[in-house]
Symmetry: C2
Subunit: 370 residues, 2 copies
Amino acid sequence: MENSVGIVTTEYAHFDAELRLESGRVLGPLTLAYETYGTLNAARSNAILVAHAWTGNAHAAGYHSTQDRKPGWWDDMIGPGKVLDTDRYYVICSNVIGSCFGSTGPTSENPRTGKPYRLNFPVLMVRDMVRAQQLLVDRLGIDQLHCVIGGSMGAMQALEWGIHFPERTRSIIPIAGAVSNSPMAIALNAMARQAIFNDPLWKKGNYRPEHPPADGLALARAIGHISFLSDTSMQLKFGRRFSVRDGLFDFFGQYEVERYLEYNGRNFVDRFDTNSFLYLAKALDLYDAGWNFDRLEDALKQVICPSLWFAFSSDWLYPPYLTEEAVTILQRLGRPTTYHLIESDYGHDSFLVEAEKFTHYIVDFLAELD
Amino acid sequence: MENSVGIVTTEYAHFDAELRLESGRVLGPLTLAYETYGTLNAARSNAILVAHAWTGNAHAAGYHSTQDRKPGWWDDMIGPGKVLDTDRYYVICSNVIGSCFGSTGPTSENPRTGKPYRLNFPVLMVRDMVRAQQLLVDRLGIDQLHCVIGGSMGAMQALEWGIHFPERTRSIIPIAGAVSNSPMAIALNAMARQAIFNDPLWKKGNYRPEHPPADGLALARAIGHISFLSDTSMQLKFGRRFSVRDGLFDFFGQYEVERYLEYNGRNFVDRFDTNSFLYLAKALDLYDAGWNFDRLEDALKQVICPSLWFAFSSDWLYPPYLTEEAVTILQRLGRPTTYHLIESDYGHDSFLVEAEKFTHYIVDFLAELD
């Protein structure tokens, strides 16, 4: 456990407040699952909020027990002496609302019925996730976050913090994000949705938890998985190798790439709730930083803090132009804005796979803020 | 019907011969559906074979009746005075084996059982399709085809003609093809397959023709459809417009791109057989021009005729490098090879949508052959 934050525990913050959502509906009471690493300083000025992606959770670093073999999902980044240095910073990661890892979501009990929400859960926007996080930041007694950082859906949250809570946000670092979900991304999510809707076990969201629509969810995940990879990364990883277990002329025979996607899709079923998957896909599709502003520029005008942006050359889910749109406007507005287009072959996943290509920029950016 | 080949009829050629397939299995007797336009000259030297794509058919030009409102699928290209000028050329298009438009495929009667083949149909390769076409060309009394031309799976057929029947092929024009199916293309086909396998109505291919696995096939088609488009073409065509019929915060609400894909997927169910779809997807996945040769170069060495190749800048299903691989080798071998990379925003579909960008090269190429 060298350079690790060590054994950590997920905590749960409960809020009686009702959150007014962008849809006009209200959600409450609320629970937010979260973890923290490092120590909040006396000035309460060293907190960094890490925002997770679609299927992420609050467990970003460390281990849950001494038997735990796999650390949190961004352990490479968070720890003593690491990029988000827990000797200096107080790092917070909380599970988004709508998810299934402890924060209020479709599997939670609907207080009006005493039963799980399921499809009675309200449709969320990323903006709503951030509003919920703000309650947690209040609870922790933090006026201003030193930084909000995240990749993919986490990048969208970082930007929303910058737009909607400018006075509480000292800096933001959106990585592999998008100023809005493209029709291509929507189309891919639509395929994932349809794969689930087609599964007779889905039952319009009323599946029994022990009998989820496994075929549908596994396929949905595999479709998403393809969009996180790239043509080149698949050529490198799989090429045209045929599964050794199958005959080339077997109707059901599989190439290695097929077997890999199926295996990972199946695994996903054991760790993610189907309705949560659908609600978060919807939130991604609805994502548009300019929503409810006259123009995107009016939204970005709200961002007054320094921002550091990364996009990846082979990312075809959130191609660089969807980051550059925001960067161009912010620079025109004269906001302190830094952007790096990182050359990488690993598609959208580059931000997780090739962190060493860009994390030094983050270290420098945070150092300059101090 | 100006510039049209007019009223045409699909014809059916029956062959008692058994075709020995790449898999080692045999297929026969065989039927091939085909259409011809123009007149075979006395020297029998003016025949052009048009090879269709995945879901295409033999009806490439003209109308089937005076009431027919939609002409054949490549009517823009084929007719008097058009690129494939029926005043000069005798144009043949035949439905590939494995398909469901009149040629022998999974819906045909298996002579050994008297019932439809369904999954007893043998797994095919593109090479097998071309072998079957050769029987038809024999039957029509043609020793050498003036040209074999096609897009997508049609491009693969054109190349296979050049490799396996060099003495019968005066020239080839592969358009938006690939020297082999990439792992990305295989992965997308795997998603389509799984969508069908997940549909309880599929019944391992034993669905009742009047109750096909419509949900699965519609989703499979929609997945394919996405891969024919591009990020840019979707931005241009749909942007982030939400369907006017839905509320933005309706869980089942759809963006226009979703509605479009669903609508087209549903339409497809009425015109295509599910098992045929699966067999042709498999043939695409198995496609590798170098298969059963020591190296790709050994396969391409067989091509002695002039070849004209097109790839499209925004095609991410068969990206240009999958054409350039063949072109580079052929040029190194000193074969008369011409290649054009066409700038287009319409993805794989560019070859159908923006024909005007490249057809003049075809006119020149054919003129120089004469």
